[in-house]
């Protein structure tokens, strides 16, 4: 019995070794190559579009436009310093895009910047086809993937055929030599195969379970139907309404605040119809056409506005007869998380787009960021606070000395305790 088990164990061990090495190798490549798209999305996408000029220039082909790769690295690490130095290309850029100066990303490594460049260069202009629904991850359909898959399948089939042929020939040769053939075990009863298969299934299921559990309660790309088709693109994008005009709480409070109907009415007393249907037809994610003027009428119903008489309907006690709009909340944090908008907007000077994505491009809002703890922490690790600009930070004398002595250029949120539990959980 044992002499039978031993070789089997050996072959299982061999199989596992191969599997592990393969997995490890795949992982290794995953670690080695930074994900350009992810870095772009979390750091650059709030201001840059690969194809179009946004807050900053379109990035596709950026490596060809800049003087050198080294220049690009320096620029990304500290743009203000380059401008201050009087670098020609830098000042040109600044003149073109001022007053906005690009945020510095000292923590991005050269490899990561390269990855971003590779990614932006790989982005194709998809204007020709129908615009894909924003947020859905189906955009990714690289052209030559199917060839690879086909080749793999053909190669696998070839290997299988060769293996069968080989064993067939061996059998024939054995018969010729008079050696007795061992009884062939079909591969699905081969214990090595079964063991390998079970281990693979176990690992995959574990991976899927753990990931599923981690993702539980998160709703990135959540894009619910709202009671009114309110287009941020029309308001914040095309008409350039300041975010803080409506979301006034973002500077003052925890909550950014959804405006009450009377704030809408400040403009919509005059603006009664949507006149931009020519340049920008409104469309739901499902492709349904939306009549902007009808949506404004919905607002009037909520706000208690009589568009014919041009006055508010009033309750007997003189109050405006308005009903609040029951918006569907998109960005949900668990109850044990304390998030304060004013901390980020007023103190950290973080752009809205950093977390909310290119909101000025969205007709219907979807959740751009995962809002996971890892995502928060990552940003806190990479982002610098307004260390020299805000006098609050004068108490960190050590860091100020280090900046003076040139030991450091800035201080990240993490370095002043921004990744500690009770910054967000209490």
């Amino acid at each position: 019995m044992s002499e039978y088990i031993k070789p089997m164990l050996r072959s299982i061990a061999k199989g596992i070794t191969v599997l592990v090495i393969t997995l490890f190798a795949t992982n290794l490549t995953a670690i080695a190559a930074p994900d350009g798209k992810a870095i772009f999305m979390s750091n650059c996408a709030s201001c840059h579009n690969p194809l179009k000029d946004a807050t900053g220039p379109a990035l596709k082909g950026v490596d060809g436009r800049v003087p050198s790769k080294e220049w690009l690295y320096d620029w990304v690490h500290n743009p203000s310093a380059m401008i201050a130095k009087g670098d020609k290309h830098a000042t040109e850029l600044f003149d073109k895009w001022k007053p906005t100066v690009m945020t510095s990303f000292p923590s991005l490594s050269k490899e990561e910047i390269d990855a971003v460049v590779t990614y932006v260069n790989s982005v194709e202009d998809k204007k020709k086809g129908p615009e894909p629904t924003p947020g859905t991850e189906t955009k990714e359909a690289p052209g030559n993937n199917w060839i690879y898959s086909l080749v793999t399948i053909i190669l696998l089939a070839l290997a299988f055929i060769l293996w069968r042929v080989n064993s067939g020939l061996k059998r024939v040769a054995n018969e010729k030599d008079g050696v007795q053939n061992t009884k062939e075990i079909p591969f699905w009863r081969n214990k090595v195969v079964i063991a390998l298969f079970s281990i693979t299934v176990f690992i995959m299921a574990g991976y899927w379970l753990v990931n599923g559990a981690v993702e539980m309660g998160r709703q990135q790309n959540y894009q619910p139907l709202q009671p009114i088709f309110y287009s941020h693109k029309v308001h914040a994008g095309i008409n350039q309404v300041n975010c803080l005009y409506c979301h006034a709480g973002a500077e003052k409070s925890r909550q950014a605040m959804i405006p009450s109907t009377n704030v809408c009415m400040n403009c919509h007393k005059q603006i009664k119809e949507y006149t931009g249907a020519e340049e920008h037809p409104l469309m739901t994610a499902e492709g349904e056409k939306i009549d902007g003027t009808a949506e404004i009428q919905k607002l009037y119903a909520y706000a208690g506005w009589d568009p014919a008489k041009k006055e508010y309907k009033r309750k007997p006690n003189g109050e405006i007869d308005a009903k609040p709009v029951q918006w569907v909340k998109i960005h949900n944090l668990p109850d044990h998380v304390y998030f304060n908008h004013s901390q980020h907007v007023a103190v950290g000077k973080v752009q809205c787009q950093r977390c909310h994505g290119t909101i000025q491009e969205m007709d219907e809002v979807y959740q751009f960021s995962p809002l996971s703890m890892g995502w928060c922490i990552n940003c806190h690790r990479q982002t610098e606070v307004q260390f020299t600009a805000n006098n609050y930070y004068t108490i960190f004398k050590k860091y100020h000395e280090e900046i003076k002595s040139g030991k450091r250029t800035g201080v990240t949120v993490e370095e002043i305790g921004g990744t500690e539990c009770q910054k967000c959980h209490y």
Binding site: P259, Y338, Q422
Partner: protein, 1051 residues
């Protein structure tokens, strides 16, 4: 001093077996989970797999639920001054009868969630009490009436107005308005209008706990039926004859502030008032006293007379040696000037003698102020007695009851008399004992919903504004009275008119409303009074009072529940441990250890560890009460004390209700008001009593022995004399402990550690911090938060405990779980006795507020397997609830026993609906209405996680954010913890230790002789320091074994 032994309770002194067991088993209950029955089962493996499978499936099912669609609903029309998520603060006034406090209401998104003191008031100076802190919960009390009632049925205000007006019109007999003391000038005007409308109407004022004796004595002595203003801060010698002025007497909030101001001791400033105290039971004022003696309540008159005589040069001859000594010393000190005598008795003669003493020592005009009188109490007992008699005779046409509950407080006599009155109106906010007897119940607003004002002292005003629109169909009683007197204006308009006119214009009014107070500028004027009382008559009357032999009963107010009223139904107050007995949720008979022994109790039965208490039969004033005994060292041996405010009717609310449950037996305590007597002139709060042992027992939830230090030295106490002679004694003692660890043996200063009498200097402390551990040191670069607690100033009043509950959404667990040591208070006040239990006059009591010490080298952090508790760069010991898996290792490893585990889902915080814990009395807290009190900035903890004091991190973060927005560092005093803000005695100081200019840094530097850290030698490096207790006394009775011998001999 190091020989002084403190004991939390008698069991610790005796180290009984039961106590030992409690000490050994930190978690009283066996852990739930895999029980022995599982392992004993025939197929343990299969059962285990079944459990495993079930829980996996359950978890999968729970997890596969879809994400709910949440709505974000903005205001339809946003009020201009509300920013969602940013609190608004409104200055207002807390009034409960004559109890007064200037407050600031914190509202979040339109609902009051916290009450703070108003620092602009020159009277309360930003202080609060436990009741003021808890008052916000009364607003959301589920037992409140939601609409007016007529003849037991719901009615509209219109119907009531019509019915009542016609009833009053056809009535020819007098109309009685029976109310508590009213300190609102506009309300008085409304009442006058009402009285004018019905010519034979009469306003009868009485207070649930009466001060008539004082009022009448003052009238006889000074010609004013008023109460003076007391200035405890200006007094060098304070003699209190049974007046619990730090806990319940007259205006404890005001007095605590003044009292602590006179007792700020440093090595450089040794000025400290001297406080003599005579009492029959043990109050917190007695605990703070420098010299304390006990007497029977019937002897209090004799003590007052003896003190009067002593001041005039006659030596006292009182029954106890200690009393004689105290009276002699006190008289000598009083004669030095700046003295003050206060007395808690409601007897006119005793108060007259006290007035005579105060006059003799020239207190009037120096410490007692007759130029500005206090309006706190105005009730005259004989009025209500006469009114009751008139009602009983059927001479009264209508009785309107406002702010009092005579059917409970005066009792059956009043309830029977009320039945003879045809029109009975109550303004009560709930169906209390009196409202149930009324045919009209017209509920008044809660004070947080009302406009109003107060005049606590003549010429000193305070305005009241609402923090929320009325929640229910209630109406201000002033509006009701105005409506019934045929007026067309509303009280709101009238009030505004009154103040705009008085203050001269809208802008002045706005300013006053914003400040909340209207006070004359400058210091309060002082004025004396000429004593014109008849001291001879008073002395003769006192001499004629026969001292009773045998037991006497004292009826007292608890610091938490007070006179009863709505407070009885406040779960925060019910669960707040009484400062002295540390008992929750009940009243009981307090007796001395000696008396308990005489009752035949074994030690195990009289201590606090054993929860089952012997029930005694207490007979006094013709009444019989069955009450459990709670042994209180420091009680006079012949006195039994019972608290008011219990034994309430079921309709006043679930938390306050009393009764008998089929399964659990009695609950909710007994009503002690029937023990109150009447001597023909005033109510008396003591009586001769008989007690008798029964075989029954009753469980009382007492918290003190729940978290034991097992006798380790954690309090340092000195007499003022010791301290002035050797201020460095504490530094030396600390130095002896820590200096040896402050250098490494292989370091350069090898000789350093061998020096004797090492002082705990900054150098030594630094060395100890760095070298006393293997763990790395934390660098606190920006802010390093720290707290200092002054044990001399702490009176144990419990305001901080309730303030903490309100700020941090702390769960109330109910009596059942208090009995299991599972109370959740983040901040507890430990009470330590010292002295000989046998002799009440030797007992000295110390309070020590204890919360998470935020150790820089925290034992809890190292043992957490998931790092749910760890250290912040600002010195906070952080607790991440969502990370906690409930191993409780941290609680086991915490030397201060300040971590609390959520054994149940107290608040409906976890996602399983039916997990919520219910016990009957505390359940209203989970009601949607009551949950409105929760602070939205603090997570409501769910079952299975550990929690503890966070240094109010939400406030610290808020202060930092404000500073960042304004681009400046945090100012000292900007970040205040809830306990610090609530404290009336200024004993808690909090701030940034890294800032040398902050108050906390200054205390640790300038008062370093008193600074100590609890269990410092174990190198936890707490961020909370204490200041040693200094008592201005020359006697150390307390627990010196050499002097007193073994304690056992005394019990």
């Amino acid at each position: 001093m190091s020989q002084k032994q403190y004991w939390k309770g008698l069991e610790e002194l005796q180290n009984t077996a039961a106590h030992q067991e409690v000490v050994d088993n930190e978690f009283k209950e066996p852990l739930p989970g895999i029980s022995d029955s599982l392992l004993d089962a025939t197929t343990p493996r299969r059962d285990f797999l079944k459990f495993l499978g079930f829980s996996t499936v359950a978890a999968t099912l729970a997890a596969s639920c879809e994400m709910p669609v949440r709505k974000a609903i903005p205001y339809a029309i946003k009020p201009e001054d509300i920013v969602p998520g940013v609190p608004n603060y409104y200055a207002s006034t807390f009034v409960d009868g004559g109890d007064y406090c200037a407050i600031v209401i914190k509202t979040r998104d339109g609902r009051p969630i916290k009450v703070e003191g108003n620092t602009l008031s020159s009277i309360t100076k930003g202080s609060t009490s436990a009741r003021v802190q808890a008052s916000v919960l009364n607003l959301y009390d589920k037992a409140r009436l939601r609409q007016p009632m007529m003849d037991g049925k719901e009615a509209t205000f219109d119907a009531i107005d019509r019915g009542l007006q016609s009833a009053l019109a056809s009535n020819t007999k007098p109309v009685y308005l029976i109310s508590s003391t009213i300190i609102s000038p506009t309300s008085k005007e409304v009442i006058n209008q009402f009285l004018a409308k019905y010519p034979n109407a009469k306003h009868i004022v009485y207070d649930a706990v009466s001060y008539s004796g004082m009022l009448l004595a003052n009238e006889a002595s000074y010609g004013k039926r008023a109460l003076p203003s007391y200035h405890f801060d200006k007094a060098k010698t304070i003699v209190s004859l049974g007046a619990d002025f730090l806990g319940t007497w007259l205006a404890p909030v005001e007095f605590s502030k003044q009292y602590s101001a006179g007792r700020k001791v440093t090595a450089k400033n040794l000025e400290m008032s001297k406080h003599y105290h005579v009492e029959s039971m043990h109050t917190i004022t007695g605990a703070s006293a420098d010299m304390r003696a006990t007497c029977k309540p019937s002897e209090m008159g004799a003590v007052a007379v003896a003190l009067y005589n002593a001041v005039n040069g006659t030596a006292p001859s009182l029954p106890s040696k200690k009393l004689n000594e105290l009276v002699t010393k006190a008289a000598a000190d009083l004669k030095k000037g700046n003295g003050m005598v206060v007395c808690g008795s409601n007897d006119v003669n005793i108060q007259t003698v006290v007035n005579a003493i105060n006059s003799a020592i020239n207190a009037n005009g120096t410490t007692i102020n007759w130029a500005v009188t206090s309006n706190y109490k105005a009730g005259i007992d004989s009025d209500i007695v006469a009114a009751t008699e008139a009602m009983a005779k059927g001479e009264v046409g209508a009785a309107m009851i406002l702010g009092v509950n005579p059917a409970y407080e005066i009792g059956k006599k009043f309830a029977d008399a009320l039945k003879n009155v045809p029109v009975r109106v109550s303004f009560a906010d709930r169906m209390d004992e009196t409202a149930q007897l009324c045919n009209y119940v017209v509920p008044d607003h809660n004070y947080l919903e009302s406009w109003g004002d107060a005049e606590p002292k003549t010429g000193y005003y305070s305005l009241m504004q609402p923090g929320i629109a009325p929640l229910f169909k209630t109406r201000a009683y002033q509006d009701s009275l105005l409506a019934w007197s045929g007026s067309t204006t509303t009280y709101g308009d009238m009030w505004k008119n009154y103040w705009t006119t008085k203050l001269g214009g809208q802008s002045n009014f706005d300013k006053a409303l914003q400040d909340g107070i209207v006070e004359p500028a400058g210091e309060m004027p002082m004025g004396g009074g000429t004593f014109a009382g008849n001291i001879a008559n008073a002395t003769a009357a006192i001499a004629a009072m026969k001292p009773t032999s045998g037991m006497e009963v004292v009826v007292y107010q608890k610091v938490s529940i007070g006179h009863g009223g709505a407070w009885s139904n406040n779960p925060w107050l019910q669960e707040m441990p009484d400062p002295i007995t540390k008992a929750t949720w009940d009243n009981y008979a307090c007796v001395s250890p000696k008396k308990a022994k005489e009752l035949g109790e074994e030690l195990t039965g009289i201590t606090e560890v054993v929860t089952k208490k012997r029930v005694i039969k207490l007979e006094a004033n013709g009444q019989t009460l069955m009450l459990p005994i709670v042994v209180v060292p420091g009680m006079h041996n012949d006195v039994v004390a019972v608290a008011l405010g219990y034994g309430r009717d079921a309709q006043i609310g679930r938390a306050g209700a009393s009764g008998t449950d089929k399964l659990k037996g009695d609950f909710g305590g007994k009503n002690a008001y029937p023990l109150v007597g009447y001597n023909g002139q005033t109510f008396t709060y003591n009586a001769a009593a008989k007690i008798e042992k029964t075989d029954a027992t009753y469980e009382v939830g007492i918290t003190q022995t729940h978290h034991s230090y097992e006798g380790r030295p954690i309090i340092h106490e000195f007499t003022l004399e010791e301290f002035s002679k050797d201020p460095n004694a504490l530094l030396k003692e600390r130095g002896e402990e820590i200096a040896k660890y402050s250098v490494v043996p292989w370091g350069e200063h090898e000789a350093h550690g061998e020096k004797k009498e090492e002082l705990a200097t900054q150098e030594v402390e630094e060395g100890f911090r760095k070298e006393g551990t293997l763990y790395p040191n934390y660098e606190h670069m920006g802010i390093h938060w720290g707290m200092s607690i002054d044990l001399t100033a702490c009176t144990g009043c419990g305001a901080c405990v309730v303030g903490c509950m309100a700020e941090n959404n702390i769960s109330v667990v109910g009596k059942t779980h208090v009995l299991k040591s599972q109370e959740m208070h983040w901040l507890r006040i430990d009470r330590y006795f010292s002295g000989m239990p046998d002799d009440p006059d030797t007992i000295q009591t110390v309070f020590q507020p204890m919360m998470c010490q935020h150790c820089d080298n925290a034992p809890c952090e190292n043992v957490c397997p998931v790092s749910a508790t760890n250290h912040s760069s600002e010195g906070l010991n952080q607790m991440a609830y969502n990370r906690c898996i409930g191993t409780k290792y941290c609680a086991n490893n915490c030397p201060y026993k300040v971590r609390h585990f959520n054994w149940m889902d107290w608040n409906g915080a976890d996602c399983f609906d039916d997990n919520q814990y219910e016990d009957g009395r505390r359940d209203d807290l989970n009601d949607d209405l009551t949950r409105m009190v929760l602070n939205p900035d603090v997570t409501v903890r769910s079952r299975g996680v550990m929690e503890k004091c966070s240094f109010c991190v939400q406030r610290l973060q808020d202060a930092k954010l404000t500073a960042k927005k304004e681009g400046r560092p945090v100012k000292d005093g900007e970040a205040k913890t809830a306990c610090q803000q609530a404290c009336a005695s200024d004993c808690i100081v909090f701030g940034n230790v890294n800032d040398p200019e902050s108050e906390i840094s200054k205390i640790r530097k300038d008062n370093k002789e008193r600074v100590f850290y609890v269990l410092e030698q174990i190198h936890t490096l707490p961020n909370v320091n204490y200041l040693s207790k200094i008592r201005n006394t020359d006697e150390i009775w307390a627990g010196n074994e050499e002097k007193d011998g073994l304690y056992k001999a005394h019990i």
